[in-house]
Symmetry: C2
Subunit: 93 residues, 2 copies
């Protein structure tokens, strides 16, 4: 495993390592939602949510699709989906 691979994996984990971002993932894991919807769902500032969304989308964890003046963010990263499933499973204990 090269240093570069390790760095990429670590970055992925680090992005999942903030409660606010986990909340955002929860908000979009069923279906894509607009920024405004997400802001309402996670109860945070629009600027703050936008910043997190940008990070997650840049990393390929979220998809970004513009429709008119709205932007829909969705979760379609296989790895992240599986990890979330693992965590949910684990929480059942």
């Amino acid at each position: 495993m090269t240093d570069d691979e390790l760095e990429r994996i670590a970055t992925h984990f680090r992005l999942l390592g903030e409660p606010m971002r986990l909340k955002i993932l929860q908000a979009v894991c069923q279906e894509p939602r607009t920024v405004n919807d997400i802001v309402a769902a996670v109860d945070a500032t629009q600027a703050n949510v936008s910043k997190h969304l940008s990070l997650l989308a840049t990393a390929g964890i979220l998809t970004r699709q513009k429709d008119g003046q709205c932007v829909y963010y969705g979760l379609n990263d296989e790895l992240t989906l599986k990890m979330c499933a693992l965590v949910h499973e684990q929480l059942a204990d």
Copy 2:
């Protein structure tokens, strides 16, 4: 999902979000190793490795077992093991 649960999960992910800690996990994932062994394996300072080991053990990700003047750290956290497996799987792409 309560804020407390989110925080716990985020902490778990955050701990996996550093390349040096991933290297350490790689070093101990087969069998428990001593601190000195791990230091040699990951090519870092003893103090630095010790600090990371302490964090990982406190979080329950690593086990700690003292034998004479050596301390063996091992990986037996189910969740972390599964996540590492997922990542390896993913890297095959």
